[in-house]
Symmetry: C2
Subunit: 151 residues, 2 copies
């Protein structure tokens, strides 16, 4: 398209709100988690995702997709979490290229200690302000947006 159409008033208003949320929400989540645990939200999500996996263990690529991050970013993050003793790299039994990230007992303990405060913050920032209808509608919208984000 040579002359892409601009956003109309409704779209622009929505976009400005969304842009603000994209800026402020991660900052708020990071702040709370860093105060309580010393790690940012992206790192917390890695621990949380692993804790729900069988054997608390996942392939790097699968973990990256589940968290919605890059392999490179994940690799750096795992290195950092490994140095704190919360994660451990393991060789993949079926694929010699592969690495698995394994959540240690110490990592699980840290996660469980951090979870209540984090959930409270998610409530304070989001669900305290929304009705059940709001949540259903919001979820319908996110379901429409996620496919394009995953490519």
């Amino acid at each position: 398209m040579s002359t892409p159409r601009w956003l109309d008033d409704d779209e622009m208003g929505a976009w400005l709100d969304i842009a603000q949320i994209l800026m402020l929400m991660p900052a708020a989540l990071d702040r709370q988690l860093r105060e309580d645990t010393g790690i940012p939200h992206a790192y917390y999500q890695i621990l949380a995702t692993l804790s729900a996996a069988p054997d608390r263990c996942m392939r790097m690529t699968d973990l990256a997709k589940a968290v919605g991050t890059t392999l490179s970013r994940l690799s750096h993050a795992v290195t950092s979490l490994e140095q704190r003793g919360w994660l451990q790299r393991r060789a993949c039994p079926t694929d010699k290229r592969g690495q698995m990230a394994h959540l240690t007992d110490a990592g699980l303990a840290t996660l469980e200690a951090a979870a209540p405060g984090h959930v409270a913050e998610v409530r304070r920032l989001i669900f305290d302000h929304l009705t059940a209808d709001d949540i259903a509608q919001l979820r319908a919208v996110t379901a429409k947006l996620l496919p394009a984000l995953h490519q």
Copy 2:
């Protein structure tokens, strides 16, 4: 609260979707803008906000609030944008502590060159997938969330 309640299934599903969007959307916006202009989305927002201000000029603190960022982050960003010749610091006439950020002609030209591609990306990621009703509902939700994020 000593035992904060966990998220129910609807809330947890919504939260996982939101977390994915918070991770993927900024990454997608950054990627497009960096390819086209070499600057991340947070920097683009600074230029865009300034372009709509009288004299294309704003106090640092006001600009930080408008964009939804930190004064420190803004200061670093302005330094970087200034080195590219797209911004200029000016002394504030009424307050000797103050600094004003002024968008230069070169900065405006860069912004106007980047805008079509950026808008197209915002459309591709968001508005192409939503009906007018979706947008209205989404905006109603964001309106409920923003106050808590602003404190």
